[in-house]
Amino acid sequence: MATLSMASERVRARSGARTFLSRYARSRSAVVGAIGLLVIVVCAVAAPLLAPYDPTAQSAGSLLGPSGSHWLGTDDLGRDILSRAIYGARASLTVGCGSAALGALLGVPLGVVAGYLGRWTDSVSMRFVDLLLAVPTVLLALVITAVIGASRINLIVAIGVAAIPQFARLARAATLSIRDRDFVVASRGMGASTPDTMFRTVLLNLLGPIMVQLVITASLAVVVEAGLSVLGLGVPPPTPSWGGMLQEARGYLYQSPTFGVFPGLCLAITVFCMDRVGHGLRVAVGVESAGATTRAVI
């Protein structure tokens, strides 16, 4: 076995995580996005430490312009806009990430089972998905919030349910594309049970695209949450959320531009960062197609 000695066979030695990171870092904008997102997450988590004021305290005069004590001024009820914007990251991120996670949690298994088992399981699941896709998201959100009330959890449910189809379709397509690959066949050949093959072998290989879709969905969910806020269906006051602030600010766009501009900017920056992170992930995990299967829901 001398000739087979591995001594001369060079393994391109790089750990998986390192490869992932270096591929991710190839896109400069993705790095910027990741840093931006990190900053936003830090804002959300450490809001009590960062925010100069209690976001619900109505202390100062209302609609003050930017000043030394209130960098971005105050809102219609005299609350500090900067503090509210910092706390607002919490609502946007929890609703964004929560609903994306919920959509994935429900949609992915549905898609995997449909794609792997095929036949009537596939037909039934896909009709269900069609149904969800066909019913407008706003209607869904409206009904859910009207029935169970507007709260952060309910928003997550409403937007999450609307996100199921994207995940289900993605998971199904990806499952179909690897269902007949040799390693899946091999798994069956080694005697793995069907659930084992589906939820270990197959699912493990969908994580890349799912991760990308998660980020995209989260960024969309942030926008949908804000859109629902504009319709008055967002996170209930006085909890600050960017969408809610935008809605409040709409009446004062002339008197106090910073009131409306800043939450809008926060929203745009968050979406931008998420979009770039999604791009970076796509490059890093090698999912080629632009994940634009999501639809503009608002």
């Binding site: 076995m1 066979e9 393994v11 998986g16």
Partner: protein, 693 residues
């Protein structure tokens, strides 16, 4: 040499376009070509001062392992490198004295297709899937002749289609590439290439993606094309058989450089470069007794890390440790009818296996009456083809149709046949990955098809499989160690014990223990195939099924894997079912060979007998189709005609009848399906087996 070659290639009488030969002025001259790419990991010099030339009417073969820069050289020369990360292209690429690289892009484009034409590797993807085939050929004509009317263009295209052997050209003109088989697509690409009678024809692995039988047809066609146009041909290939068969001269590339160039006969006879010699030595051969192959250790170098010395030094059996090889890059110097880039050029010949030096002792013959591990009787698998609203079965594909097989303990059964003949279906049926339609399968005497859940799981531990594509047979998200441990996990072996077993197996298949925690993506094809082999051996099976285990590997790596398989069999006594379309590889591995055609075994017997004296016309034709890497035995082919058949078509009588040189007109062949019968010490399903010599 060239005179001899041209004599054969272009009989003066059949010369439609007299070719003036300008020995001093080659049709294509590539000189000092350097191509660099910038990659995140650094600059890759894919082509490093490559120089070669071809004269009109001459065929130059460019050989080398994958990644050696064969394709990039020509693409760069023609300005067809479309990658965004090209860093540098320098040198000259002269076609009829005009340097293409010096021309502005627009002007260079007008030369393409007119003066130089290219034929690509994968014919299916080389054609635009949404345009009619005929229009795509016509486009080649009209791009260079604006005055051409649609009608005349169509007429010309029909001529061309006829010329390249596409039947019913008028109908085929309006079809789309997906309606063509691979071989037919390649014919179309060739028609496109010769449409404007180019001076230079460059074929980049034109047959690699095709079946052996079709390969022979396409090679024949290429020869015809060269003769028709009188063009200089550059034939890029990694198949030394094709080189021996086709070329006048060969250039051997390694790591972006030409390491040797010489007339073909010289190359095979007296290779000057150790790499050339090693390549030749690592080939399994049809015509010689089997023995251990001389594999080239290691892998081709990483082009990012350029060492000062000879790129081949780390793998070189001669220069390996010599200091000059490590420190000084050898340059190409003229030597013995050609040129070579090696410090120790003279010594390479010694690497060639001397026919008598090969171990003529065949491995101990495994008695046919050894107890059977696998016994298959009357196995059939019919796929229903569903169409329409209610997905009703409108046709059936008889992928496997009444196969009997027997694999003895510790022996190897080779299964050969063209693409689509049912090899994989048969192999998968043995694991019950597919539920056979009829027949019985016994593993160690136990009935596989009647086994219930628990029994089946136990039996599956006894039969393991290694798949064709090492890039898709491992779960890319599991470490290779976990991949190899999967059968153990499924058998309920505890984690620590799994780990131990896997490490032992890794050592056996020549992988290092520290590799176990890495992902498959970090390994080369050969290494992955080792992991797959380790995985198959993990539950100590009685038989391992190999479905084309080496067809995706380079020759040098292929030899390593084949050797490993032999060693493992010697060590563990496991039986193999070895499926391949490569007859030489099967020859190398199998004790017994079964030849499959359209779902049935047409001939089976001991490998030595079958290869020496095939009795079935199909076996005969298959053997004939294979280019042998020995220019001295170039022979007139009687290759298979037509495409591999469609298993949905119902046939009566002999299945091979339509392509058989013997049976086409004989009534017996049409009336009676030939049964396997004993002829000359093997089993053959042919009414006229005795006539085949």
């Amino acid at each position: 040499m060239r005179a001899a070659g041209s004599g054969r290639l272009r009989p003066a009488t059949a010369e439609p376009h007299p070719v003036e030969e300008h020995p001093g002025e080659p049709a294509l001259r590539i000189s000092d070509l350097v191509v660099e790419f910038s990659t995140p990991a650094g600059t890759v010099r894919a082509v490093d001062h490559v120089t070669y030339q071809v004269a009109r009417g001459e065929t130059l073969a460019v050989v080398g392992e994958t990644g050696s820069g064969k394709s990039v050289t020509v693409l760069a020369a023609l300005g067809l490198l479309s990658a965004g990360n090209v860093r540098r292209v320098s040198g000259r690429a002269e076609v009829a004295g005009q340097d293409l690289l010096a021309l502005p892009a627009r002007e260079r484009r007008t030369r393409l297709g007119a003066d130089v034409a290219m034929i690509f590797q994968d014919p299916m993807s080389a054609l635009d899937p949404v345009q009619r085939v005929g229009d795509q050929i016509a486009e080649a004509l009209r791009a260079h002749d604006r005055a051409l009317t649609a009608r005349t263009a169509r007429a010309r295209v029909l001529e061309l289609l006829t010329l390249v052997g596409v039947p019913q050209p008028a109908i085929r003109y309006d079809q789309y590439p997906h309606q063509f088989s691979g071989g037919m697509c390649q014919r179309v690409v060739i028609a496109m290439a010769i449409a404007n009678r180019p001076k230079v024809l460059i074929a980049d692995e034109p047959t690699t993606a095709l079946d052996v039988s079709v390969q022979a047809q396409i090679l024949e066609l290429l020869r015809l094309a060269a003769r028709e146009t009188g063009a200089a041909t550059v034939l890029i290939t990694h198949d030394l058989g094709v080189v021996a068969e086709m070329a006048d001269r060969a250039a051997v590339m390694y790591a972006g450089r030409i390491v040797e160039t010489a007339p073909v006969a010289r190359i095979f006879d007296r290779p000057q470069h150790p790499y050339t010699a090693s390549l030749l030595a690592s080939l399994p051969r049809l015509d010689q007794p089997q023995g251990r192959l001389r594999a080239i250790p290691g892998q081709p170098p990483d082009l990012r890390e350029r060492s000062a010395g000879c790129a081949f030094a780390p793998r070189c059996p001669i220069g390996g440790d010599r200091p000059e090889c490590r420190t000084e890059r050898p340059v190409l110097v003229a030597r013995d009818d050609g040129a070579v880039a090696c410090h120790h050029a003279g010594q390479a010949v010694t690497l060639l296996p001397q026919p008598d030096a090969r171990p003529s002792v065949a491995p101990p013959a495994r008695p046919d009456d050894a107890p059977a591990v696998v016994e298959v009787v009357g196995l059939a698998k019919v796929f229903p083809i569903r169409r329409g609203l209610l997905a009703r079965t409108v046709a059936t594909a008889r992928a496997v149709d009444g196969v009997d097989l027997r694999i003895g303990h510790g022996s190897t059964l080779g299964l050969v046949g063209e693409s689509g003949c049912g090899k994989s279906t048969l192999a998968r049926s043995l694991l019950r990955l597919l539920e056979p339609t009829a027949g019985s399968i016994r593993i160690d005497g136990a009935d596989l098809l009647r086994a219930n859940g628990r029994q089946l799981r136990r039996l599956r531990q006894r039969v393991q499989m290694v798949y064709q594509d090492p890039y898709s047979s491992l779960n890319p998200r599991l470490s290779v160690g976990d991949n190899a441990a999967e059968p153990l996990r499924l058998a309920g072996v505890p984690r620590t014990q799994r780990r131990r077993t896997v490490l032992e197996l890794f050592e056996k298949v020549g992988l290092r223990p520290e590799h176990a925690d890495r992902l498959p993506a970090e390994f080369s094809g050969g290494q992955r195939q080792r992991v797959a082999i380790a995985r198959a051996l993990a539950p100590s099976p009685a038989v391992v099924i190999f479905d084309e285990p080496v067809s995706a590997l380079d020759v040098s790596v292929q030899a390593q894997v084949l050797n490993l398989l032999r060693d493992l069999q010697d060590e563990t006594g496991v039986a193999y079912l070895f499926v391949s379309h490569d007859l030489s590889v099967v020859r190398q591995m199998a004790d017994t060979v079964a030849v499959m055609y359209l779902g049935a075994i047409v001939e089976t017997g001991a490998a030595s007998q079958l290869y020496r004296r095939p009795r079935h016309p199909y076996t005969r034709a298959l053997l004939d189709s294979i280019p042998v890497p020995d220019p001295s035995i170039r022979r007139q082919r009687v290759p298979l005609t037509g495409d591999p058949p469609d298993p949905t078509a119902a046939t009566t009588g002999c299945r091979f009848r339509s392509r058989c040189p013997l049976g086409r007109e004989r009534a017996a062949c049409a009336d009676r399906t030939p049964e396997l019968r004993q002829v000359d010490g093997r089993w053959t399903a042919c009414h006229f087996a005795e006539e085949v010599a």
